[in-house]
Symmetry: C2
Subunit: 457 residues, 2 copies
């Protein structure tokens, strides 16, 4: 490889895919630095991405799939043969199986599940029924459980007999269950070291272990792991039977994904993550779906200006300040909305606490509104030499900033209470309201002071 | 407690803090559902928050501190007596100690370190020297290491003798070191179960274990854990000595925090996280620092309008479309910038790949530009019955959207190459450029077609 090719590993990869040489592809991917296999895959033509996954053996393909974003994996799997897809999915950990299956269209998902190992498929079906952001959707179903009648020797023998398989589980606890698979205790494998072989595990185990319900949501799980130093915690169903284990890392990962989604939504990327490896028209359509709602809201807000056409014609300098007032109020409001989003996500504020938020924002809105208003008033006065222009423009910005900050802090709470997604809707709603208010305030102030403003060139 | 008080646990908490009754406070916090202690604390007056932490015994106080956001903890610790603060910090895990110490002003940090247990303080000082987002800043220094000359019996005896202490470590691996504390192997504690007591651990250990360097960054760590199913991985310094262990969960948590910070920055919350429990003037000042830069950029962009005052006076209807074009181009550009931010963060695109991004965005910009342009052209034509107005407004939006999408995708890459923070600067720069371009395009188009537009009422 030349130095230039090292920067663009997909050039070489494309050639290898062309030749369908599984062994050389594997060796090539293996030799790339961390992160590069995923990046190289993303830069391939979508068709070549599919060919690459098909060429690799399922285990290596699964390793690669784990490294790429979920949205990209789902996109790829839609174009794989169900047989090939199933072989790769079989090799994924159970929680990633469920994520992937859940992201696929119904028909493709069923075709893959039908072609999978029946036991794996059953687990994946079971897990994919849970929403992504509750314990059931985040847990893995690979865990060790022993009947409470077992002895230390029984457990150690089982561990020895299945050492290879369990190595993949990466376990440090075993769960102890009653006849009806109700969880009765937890056994730290390390403690077996210090025990007699004949001892019953029911003597060693910790009774009444902490558990989480299968429907516990992400915030509850986050709080749980904040409170307890465990790596993993058993998940139980309504009958207190253990159905899986949720790992701390899975919760942190889901939180990171939620933050990312919220960031993307706040910037108008909807319908899940967008990657540049996705087809052009899909990307254009998704972005446009949000933009087209936004432009209608924009037209609505700007129509306020049309009502004051005469004032504006008389004091054309105002036209310079309309976009400034609209943009700045939007910015101030967005700051308050972002803080509310964060406090909602981390559970520091509840959707019902509108008055609390309002109390914390109104004063701040006044302070910043007055500061920004004074600044813009000075600019306007100095520019046209007319103090009334400064008064109109500065007063309007001060008032509208106060309004924007106050409602910006509350909108996410209202949306959450109505069951809407605040990350998605806060921005457009806030902008529309503050634009309308801003245009109305500045133009009605100007209409009232028209005699003093008409001399402005 | 009444039902209303249950919704507002800080009312009761405030009373208990007033009475400084540590035991009752602890019992009260213990009884609250997950997440509520942190929320209750946040709702207290800052002074009461300090009194609450001082009243609790250090261990319980540390538990509470772990549940609140880092920014809030740092804020609180600035107001604690160094002695009291040190006692609480002593109880925190080493990575959180380092985070907290690192977030404090130099002087407060030193006062607390001086009052801490000397061994803990040494570790905290050592860790806090690393940036937050490299392995050294994210690792814990609590780990088990044994000399390679040890036998299984030696290790088991040590585990037994220190069972209580190690329980807190939550370990499943022990590390095996040479004389010079160079890492030579890793021992899965589970494997001790299956070994003879007299066996040397050097026979059982896995040789040449995978490690990460202390300066490995967050993306490298994320890629590492994506590739390997481990819960934790040893961190080594330049001499290959083991200096800590980094856990998968710590990496995921740091990624979530980075996403949150990026989201907040993109919405204009700078200087770290803002919480409503922070003092009003601090919050106002921080928000204003970003807004005041923004308003200057806004004035700069809007000054373009002033140059075309005569065109605008002749066709006052254009004033309605100026904010629409400015806002919509900003939205389209922000979508592209957000996708670049995500792809940069996840390593799918490199700062140097401007041409790749441009290639992926230009066409998309044209497609969406034409779609939005047609829409606004139709609105303008129907409103005033003048097709030329539609042409000017629609053409300008189409062209400016293409520009906004193209440069929006590239700005984060440029900023990253220059070592600037793309999350913070992309939005304001993008908005300024697209506003200026948008105002210029629509008003110069209108000037060129002025004879056809002058009849518009």
């Amino acid at each position: 490889m030349t130095a230039a090719d090292e920067q663009r590993p997909w050039v070489e990869l494309e050639k290898l895919v062309e030749e369908s040489d599984a062994e050389r592809i594997e060796a090539f991917l293996e030799a790339l630095p961390p992160g590069e296999p995923a990046r190289a895959l993303s830069h391939l033509h979508p068709q070549d991405q599919v060919r690459l996954l098909t060429a690799l053996d399922p285990e290596h393909a699964a390793e690669l799939v784990e490294q790429i974003p979920d949205a990209q994996a789902a996109e790829l799997f839609e174009h794989l043969e169900p047989q090939a897809a199933a072989a790769i999915v079989d090799e994924l950990p159970s929680d990633e199986q469920a994520d992937l299956i859940g992201d696929l269209p119904r028909e493709e998902a069923d075709a893959i599940l039908d072609a999978m190992d029946p036991a794996e498929a059953r687990d994946a079906r079971f897990l994919s029924r849970y929403p992504d952001d509750v314990a059931g959707g985040l847990m893995i179903t690979e865990f060790l459980a022993y009947a409470e009648t077992y002895t230390v020797a029984d457990v150690v023998d089982d561990l020895r007999a299945n050492a290879d398989e369990y190595r993949e589980y990466n376990v440090q606890y075993a769960y102890v269950t009653s006849d009806s698979s109700v969880l009765v205790g937890v056994l730290q494998l390390r403690d077996l070291l210090l025990a007699r072989r004949g001892q019953a595990i029911s003597e060693l185990m910790l009774r009444d272990p902490l558990t989480v319900a299968d429907l516990a949501n992400l915030n509850e799980l986050h709080d749980f792991f904040d409170r307890h130093p465990f790596y993993g915690i058993p998940v139980t169903d309504e009958q207190h039977a253990i159905i899986g284990v949720i790992r701390r890392a899975a919760v942190e990962e889901a939180l990171a994904e939620r933050s990312d989604r919220n960031y993307l939504k706040s910037q108008g990327i909807v319908g899940g993550e967008e990657l540049r490896s996705m087809p052009l028209f899909l990307r254009a359509r998704r972005r446009l779906s949000w933009l087209s709602v936004n432009i209608l809201l924009n037209v609505l807000a700007a129509s306020v200006i049309a009502f004051y056409q005469e004032t504006l014609a008389a004091v054309i300098a105002l036209a310079v300040f309309l976009p400034i007032i609209s943009d700045m109020s939007g910015c101030s409001g967005n700051q308050a909305a972002a803080v509310s989003m964060r406090e909602l996500a981390s559970g520091l504020v509840r959707p019902a606490e509108v008055l609390y938020v309002l109390g914390k924002e109104v004063l701040l809105g006044i302070i910043n509104g007055v500061a920004l208003g004074l600044l813009i008033a000075t600019v306007a006065w100095l520019w046209k030499g007319n103090p009334y222009l400064g008064l109109v423009v500065g007063g309007a910005l001060a008032l509208n900033t106060t309004i924007a900050v106050s409602i910006g802090g509350c909108i996410p709470l209202f949306l959450k209470r109505m069951g809407k997604d605040p990350a998605l809707a806060s921005g457009p709603i806030l902008t529309t309201v503050t634009d309308m208010c801003g245009f109305f305030i500045v133009l009605s102030f100007a209409s009232a002071l028209l005699p003093q403003l008409q001399s402005i060139p």
